[in-house]
């Protein structure tokens, strides 16, 4: 994914992460797939020339696809909640990502079969949103906020330190997130996470922690390796109102 991903053409066939292009056979692929925006003009032309309408994947039938029962149940439950079926797209993609750790092509195909939409449709939706990952990601997901308030309080250094401690390429982390070679960590510089009160902060496996001191970063990484809570004392869920327990309240006319 490039940072301009959201601005990409909606045509799913040229989506960088769409792994079912014409070079892909049912069971494998010929050569490593690369994001289309890394291709040279000639390669891109060749790719487009090799495509034909028949290559477009149709809506998979449920009996053709093996869907894990828990996943199917989650998606069907989501479908039942909305007046219109397609509204379940994002919940379905969440279910896929939580099941497989990322929005894998197989997972997307399974969700598409359950929902009765084309995999390309779900793929095009998934590629719009920053939290959906279209490539496998490290076991621990660390999003370090680098927006204004966190930046003012040293977020750039925190992000760098996380990269060093986890073994993630800082350039990758800055842009679309990078994995550590051991598959333990995914680190990404992220936009404002809505917790500037604890800046500089990070979302670690979907929980918010901060303010993070530079010398705490190694501890966080060690604890995550051991499967422990990374920073229990700085969990935002424990935070009380900044103005303290006592503050004047608005008077109401008793129980009107």
């Amino acid at each position: 994914m490039s940072t301009h991903d959201r601005q990409g053409n909606e045509t799913p066939a040229i989506d960088p992460a769409l792994e079912q292009g014409p070079q892909t056979s049912e069971h494998g692929r010929s050569g490593p797939l690369r994001p289309t925006d890394e291709l040279s003009a000639a390669e891109r032309q060749a790719l487009i020339a090799s495509m034909s309408p028949e290559d477009a994947e149709r809506v998979p039938e449920l009996h053709e696809v093996e869907v894990p029962p828990e996943l199917r149940e989650k998606i069907e439950e989501a479908m039942s909640r909305y007046p219109q079926l397609r509204s379940a797209s994002i919940p379905a993609l969440w279910a896929v990502q939580r099941h497989y750790g990322w929005c894998s092509p197989e997972g997307i195909r399974q969700a598409a079969a359950v929902m009765g939409v084309s995999p390309a449709y779900l793929q095009s939706v998934a590629s719009f949103y920053d939290l959906f990952r279209l490539t496998p990601t490290g076991r621990n997901r660390i999003l370090v906020c680098h927006n204004i308030s966190c930046w003012m309080r040293g977020a750039d250094d925190v992000l760098k330190r996380f990269c060093e401690a986890a073994g993630v390429d800082p350039h990758e982390a800055e842009h679309n997130g990078g994995n550590s070679p051991d598959g333990e960590f995914f680190v990404q510089g992220f936009e404002c996470l809505g917790a500037c009160d604890i800046a500089p902060m990070a979302s670690i496996n979907e929980h918010y922690y901060g303010p993070i001191e530079l010398d705490e970063v190694e501890t966080v990484i060690d604890r995550l390796r051991r499967g422990e809570d990374p920073l229990p004392e700085k969990d935002i869920r424990k935070r009380t109102l900044a103005g303290g327990a006592e503050a004047p309240e608005v008077e109401t006319n008793a129980d009107a």
Partner: protein, 440 residues
């Protein structure tokens, strides 16, 4: 001047997020009153009379918006905007996490008022823990007959779904939110038609921010007359202000609208670290044109921020002290909007891209003073030229920084010139200008 707590009352009380404690604190009495004593039109009238303005950014009268929805039995919808992605804003997070029933009660009352049978809370996907709390509270409310079919035995039915987003600032824009909720990529729509007339699934839709909706139970319970006594004439009520950046006690503070901004930044949030001064501040999220130290004594209200050429926006104050480099702040701001531009409209897609590139040149010391004029003119060409105001939301603060701190931009340029030992030519870009839209 201290806080003035209304939405924050009892907020840290253990168990407030359970139905039991919420009810003990007077919860759901407003819903009872709305159902037993008021007609839907009277609810809208009461809200309009209270002067309550939207807390999500635009500050539009909630009662007026509600009255724009057509009457009749067609399917209508209510969407609570809990996307909260405006940099600097974190009030809805604390409100929902600690008092989910306060939001649910507001939603149900508002849905009954406009005749919406389906309501959604569109919460940003990053707020996973908060969404879990909402899910649990919604389940409790269903079980108690406060949401769902025939609420409290009345003829009113409201289904409520917590919908988790997946990370895209643009989905906070109300029409992009609708597309996203319909299961599409979150691109904004052309307005008109406005959502009140044609919104979710083509039906009339009321969209309001979390904090706006959480004011509703208080208004219905205690009356518009009582509510109007809070705040100023044009900005009634209290406001939860998120204060962050270079202050000693960052956090959410609930204040009565109209108190001096200085009271919030210094009195409540403790001001910048000892020995530092306020240099620049955003009064309403990163989309608001910046203000300076001279403007600290302005009353914090919708009208006064607008008069000062900025806006109260989401009520997020970001403070930068004298250690902050304004050109770098401008770059940081522009990068965010560039990343978040959905790419549908050219002025925004290209304008954010080029603004980032030019600001990078300034910060690297490769710009000329003429570049500052170009930056300024790019901002002017974005404003008002797109489907939504995401591009404006970059153009306004960046434009204001170049205008108000031009000397600082020039200093950076001059320093680089001196270091290079001669006059600088505008450095040509290392990459040819490829329009981004066809770049993918």
């Amino acid at each position: 001047m201290p806080e003035r707590r209304l939405l924050f009352k009892n907020l840290d009380e253990p168990g407030l997020r359970t139905l039991d404690v919420y009810k003990r604190r007077g919860g759901y009495r407003a819903l009872e009153r709305a159902i037993r004593e008021l007609e839907p039109d009277q609810i809208i009238a009461e809200i309009e009379e209270s002067g309550l303005r939207g807390r999500g950014g635009a500050g539009f009268s909630m009662g007026k918006k509600g009255s724009f929805l057509p009457r009749g039995d067609m399917p209508k919808y209510l969407c609570c905007n809990a996307d909260e992605s405006e940099p600097g804003t974190f009030k809805d997070r604390e409100l929902m996490f600690k008092n989910p029933h306060g939001l649910i009660e507001g939603i149900v009352i508002a849905a009954i008022a406009v005749g919406a049978q389906h309501a959604f809370i569109f919460i940003r996907g990053e707020y996973w823990d908060v969404a879990d709390v909402l899910d649990a509270a919604v389940r409790e409310a269903y079980d108690a007959g406060l949401v769902g079919e025939r609420i409290l035995g009345s003829n009113h039915s409201v289904q409520l779904v917590v919908h988790r987003g997946a990370g895209a600032y643009i989905c906070g824009e109300e029409t992009a939110l609708l597309d996203s909720l319909e299961g599409k990529r979150g691109n904004p729509r052309l307005k008109p038609p406005f959502p009140a007339v044609q919104g979710l699934y083509g039906g009339p839709t009321l969209i309001n921010n979390v904090e706006t909706l959480m004011n509703v139970p208080h208004i219905i319970r205690h009356g518009a007359e009582w509510y109007k006594r809070l705040g100023t004439e044009q900005s009634t009520g209290t406001k939860v202000v998120s204060v962050s950046g270079h202050v000693q006690r960052p956090g959410n503070y609930e204040i009565e609208l109209g108190i001096p901004a200085r009271e919030i930044i210094f009195g409540l949030a403790g001001g910048p670290p000892p020995g530092r001064r306020v240099k620049v501040w955003f009064p309403g999220g990163s989309s608001a044109p910046v203000l300076t130290e001279e403007e600290l004594d302005l009353p914090y209200s919708f009208e006064s921020m607008a008069e000062a050429g900025s806006m109260l926006g989401s009520g997020a104050i970001i403070v930068g002290d004298d250690t902050v480099s304004v050109p770098e702040l401008a770059l940081r701001t522009a990068r965010f909007y560039h990343h978040e531009s959905c790419g549908k409209c050219s002025p925004c897609r290209e304008g954010t891209n080029w603004t980032v590139k030019m600001l990078e040149r300034v910060v690297r010391g490769e710009a000329t003073p003429m570049d500052l004029d170009i930056i300024a003119s790019v901002q002017e060409n974005i404003i008002g030229n797109c489907l939504c105001v995401l591009g404006d939301a970059m153009a306004m603060p960046v434009g204001s920084m170049v205008r108000k701190f031009r000397h600082e931009f020039e200093e950076v340029i001059e320093r680089a010139r001196a270091a290079h030992g001669g006059p600088l030519d505008a450095a040509p870009d290392d990459v040819p200008p490829v329009p981004l839209g066809v770049h993918a």
